[in-house]
Amino acid sequence: MKFAVIRFPGSNCDQDCIHVLNALPGASADYVWHKDSSLSGFDAVVVPGGFSYGDYLRCGAIARFSPIMRAVQDFAAAGGIVIGICNGFQILCESGLLPGALVRNRGLHFVCQHITVRVEHHDTAFTNATWTGTLLNIPIAHGEGCYFADDETLHRLQINRQVLLRYADSQGQITDAANPNGSRQNIAGIRNEAGNVFGLMPHPERACDPLLGSTDGKAIFQSLLDGPARSRDAETPGRGDAVNLSVSPPPPVAPAL
């Protein structure tokens, strides 16, 4: 599987993504410059973290208009896999490829730390190497990672099973204390309705080496390599769809990879 890692001026996790993807058996990755306008020859696109164009005005506001983003739009429209990490998630929201927006963290500070996210659905292109309810330990590093969408959008996300990751405590509970940035409903990652575009604030590429404390991030990339067709036991219906999130019972925690 050949990944394009988009390189904006100000991207700074591009190199990290390239490093991690090239080390995964079955994957290879190459930079694509923001002034380019073609993605031909690539099977998937990664919009990496960083501060594209300095993140002036709003995170991702200027990047959205770069030539390569037009190509990414077309790529996504044609069903291609697109994954936006951190600043990449912000850019995807700004471009309208994903609903909602990412605003200033509730605590007003930039936050860099390991956190726990709960996988909400395993039967997706981005999570099929996990189980629903799997807890992943992946770092975050952002100042504007507070996910916002209006009630109606949140409702749609819920119904369409688009929320893939939520901030959780070590027991898998979706609590306010486990929410590092004030995201609505503890949302850490969502996909689009068609299921081929995924944005997440945590950095899976930073959790792929045991020397860095966690390898849970590999699950995300591995899912893409394994392909969506991998057969699984039927998912418990409605899991992750609980409306009152803070009182939902802890889901059974399946072993991580």
Partner: protein, 100 residues
Amino acid sequence: MGLVAPGVIILLSAAHGQEILPSVKAIVTVMPKPSVLDPQGAATAEAMKHLGLENVGHVRVGKSIEIELPDGADEAKLHEIARDLLSNPVIEDYTIQINH
């Protein structure tokens, strides 16, 4: 809500002692929507209370963007840019003031 309904262009004639420029100056004000959490506004209100403005109400922090344009610039374009680039309609409202 801003002073002016979102998206409405008001043409102010130079008055109130503003300086008169040969070119046009547009001011786009972008404010977080009331429904969006504005922690910065809340923190600012808190700090203002500490500094002695006890009964301060809501505070919201947004952006003010001052743009110099040549006379006869494309105002429709400016409008479009305010909507698409300068603000994000999911979270923000904007107003434009153009001073000829």
